[in-house]
């Protein structure tokens, strides 16, 4: 275990820390969903940790495995020059606490995650879609979402496809 902070977290948060993984020199700490905001606040404020910068928040869909969504938080410490990844696993429809109260930078990252995966963050100040239009249905980055949603029109099937389009009926 390269980052001593993992042991500190385990001692402090007990079974809210569900695992520590080392891969290619990167430390990943698995955190229970309900504890993530507390863990983040601790990592930011603790002198020995001082993870003062949130690089990135993103999600991975491991469908068809369950729980299918893994939310990754990439932290960076300016003073210690180290990186850390926190990972939270949630089921479809399960929400997790927002970390916007800890790092305001999380605001747009969490909106993007919500937009593309449909993972809801509790207590987020402004959880709207960010990249896709407000009236878009579904969440395209889920593994079971098709890569191409709209049918491609060719000269031989133009009328046929056009008749199926939602606006054609009006």
């Amino acid at each position: 275990m390269s980052d001593p902070i993992a042991a500190t977290l385990q001692a402090r948060f007990g079974d809210a820390i569900t695992g520590v993984v080392e891969f290619r020199g990167e430390t990943t700490i698995h955190v229970r969903p309900d504890a993530i905001a507390g863990v983040c606040a601790f990592l930011r404020d603790d002198e020995a940790a001082s993870y003062d910068f949130l690089s990135d928040v993103s999600a991975v869909d491991v469908w068809p495995d369950e729980p299918r969504f893994q939310i990754n938080y990439h932290l960076y410490s300016m003073t210690r020059n180290t990186r850390l990844r926190l990972k939270v696993s949630v089921r479809d429809g399960q929400s997790l606490p927002s970390v916007t109260g800890v790092w305001p930078a999380a605001n747009w990252f969490e909106r993007e995650t919500y937009d593309l995966f449909g993972v809801k963050f509790d207590d987020h100040p402004d959880l709207r879609r960010i990249l896709l239009p407000d009236d878009y249905l579904g969440h395209p980055l889920r593994r079971d979402a098709p890569l191409v949603v709209e049918e491609v029109e060719f000269t031989y099937n133009y009328d046929e496809v056009e008749a199926r389009k939602p606006y054609a009926k009006e």
Partner: protein, 415 residues
């Protein structure tokens, strides 16, 4: 196949949707809601802002992005690792080399591949040229937004020389896709070093020219000094990176903090601002021109001889001539171009210092030849999210200066 897009709705937001985004004064008509963009030249692409104005002062600013969303992260999941490279060029189209570098470095870390030193140095040379080219577009467009018309013409003149060098090495002026996993597509052609040297001999006098036009220009100073200041602490909390963060005095440059691709071989300084206003961000980028030239000079002097791509045949294709006599090479070639290679299951996050800040690349592999998830941490995305807090209280004309100073690329933001 059923279409999953709902019938289009009126584009304007309802009052309910606006609640919480703008102040209550907007509903009584006390303040004015102004739409800016997406087809506005000073928004540098297709950024739309909803501005709430009290007279000429901005009360609140709500960015609306996504007009250029192309689903690149989704597309990556259906491609082999090598075929993702051209997609990365098309995100931040002003710094495709840095995007390439971030992505290939992430795959190299995932695969545990060593890159030959010559390839690393050429990568650094091209990335620093890219930084200069990107800053030139920024300077030209930023200045033209603030009515310094001639800057654009000068900047694009010099940028042309860099694009010619890119064309020389890769055949492409902008979307080079020159980096490969494990090294480079091929070695640089003859005359490359001379072309870079020639650019380096001309460019310092051009920087002086830009500074002569702007440094003591009262119009430029009054439009930039003290505008949109953000403290280092706030910039950090908002996730700002790159010259935007360094303009506020925070000394963080990934090239220094976590040297990659041989940056630890070179000496250079990290220019820092003090006030975090539009002028300091401008000043930082102007100094970065000179620092990039320093790195270029050292990299050319130290450029070693040797191979430009790894000899790990599981990642990089064998030389073409080997296919004629080596069965094993033929098999490797065939496997690489049909199936691709399979990294071990796991995840990596690699970040590089792009001209705009921290460009991060997260890859999650499930052990198959295609990535399960590729996520790009776009520097412009995080930098733009700090705009609402910077824009509070400035004049509406200064919003244009602010957008220019954080140097956004909408392709990068929307991906």
């Amino acid at each position: 196949m059923s279409a999953s897009v709902a019938p289009p709705r009126s584009i304007s937001m309802t009052f309910d949707e606006l609640k919480g985004l703008v102040s209550d004064r907007a509903f009584s008509g006390e303040t004015l809601l102004l739409n800016m963009g997406p087809q506005h030249p000073s928004t540098h692409g297709v950024l739309r802002l909803l501005l709430e104005l009290d007279g000429e002062r901005v009360v609140s600013c709500v960015p609306d992005i996504g007009y250029l969303h192309t689903g690149i992260e989704k597309t990556c999941e259906s491609k082999t690792y090598t075929k993702v490279i051209p997609l990365t060029d098309r995100m931040d189209y002003l710094s495709p080399m840095s995007n390439n570098l971030g992505y290939v470095m992430a795959v190299e870390k995932l695969m545990g591949v060593e890159v030959p030193l010559r390839a690393q140095f050429i990568r650094v040379i091209l990335c620093e040229l890219q930084r200069i080219a990107s800053h030139l577009v920024w300077l030209g467009t930023h200045a033209i937004d603030l009515a310094a018309m001639s800057m654009l013409l000068y900047c694009f003149r010099e940028r042309e020389m860099i694009l010619d060098i890119f064309e020389m090495v890769s055949g492409q002026r902008m979307m080079a896709s020159y980096f490969r996993i494990g090294g480079l597509w091929r070695d640089v052609p003859e005359g490359f070093e001379d072309a870079v040297r020639q650019f380096m001999s001309l460019f310092p006098s051009h920087i002086d020219e830009y500074e002569a036009l702007l440094r003591n220009n009262p119009l430029w100073l009054s439009r930039t000094k003290g505008i949109g200041a953000i403290s280092g602490q706030d910039a950090l909390a908002m996730g700002m990176t790159g010259p935007g963060l360094r303009g506020s005095g925070v000394n963080w440059d990934i090239r220094k903090a976590e040297p990659y691709s041989g940056y630890d071989h070179f000496e250079f300084d990290v220019p820092l601002g003090e006030n975090g206003d539009v002028y300091d961000r401008y000043w930082c980028r102007m100094q970065e021109f000179r620092q990039s030239l320093r790195i270029l000079d050292q990299a050319l002097k130290k450029l070693p001889k040797g191979p430009t791509i790894t000899d790990d045949r599981k990642v990089a294709p064998p030389p073409k001539e080997e296919l004629a006599w080596s069965m094993e090479s033929l098999i490797h070639h065939f496997k690489l171009w049909t199936e691709g290679f399979s990294p071990p299951p796991g995840e990596v996050y690699v970040s590089v210092e792009s001209p705009r800040g921290e460009f991060g690349c997260y890859i999650n592999s499930d052990g198959s030849p295609k990535p399960r998830r590729v996520h790009f941490r776009a520097p412009s995305f995080a930098n733009l999210s700090a705009l609402p807090s910077m824009a509070k209280g400035v004049l509406v004309a200064d919003v244009v200066a602010l957008i220019g100073s954080i140097d956004i690329v909408l392709g990068d933001i929307d991906r």
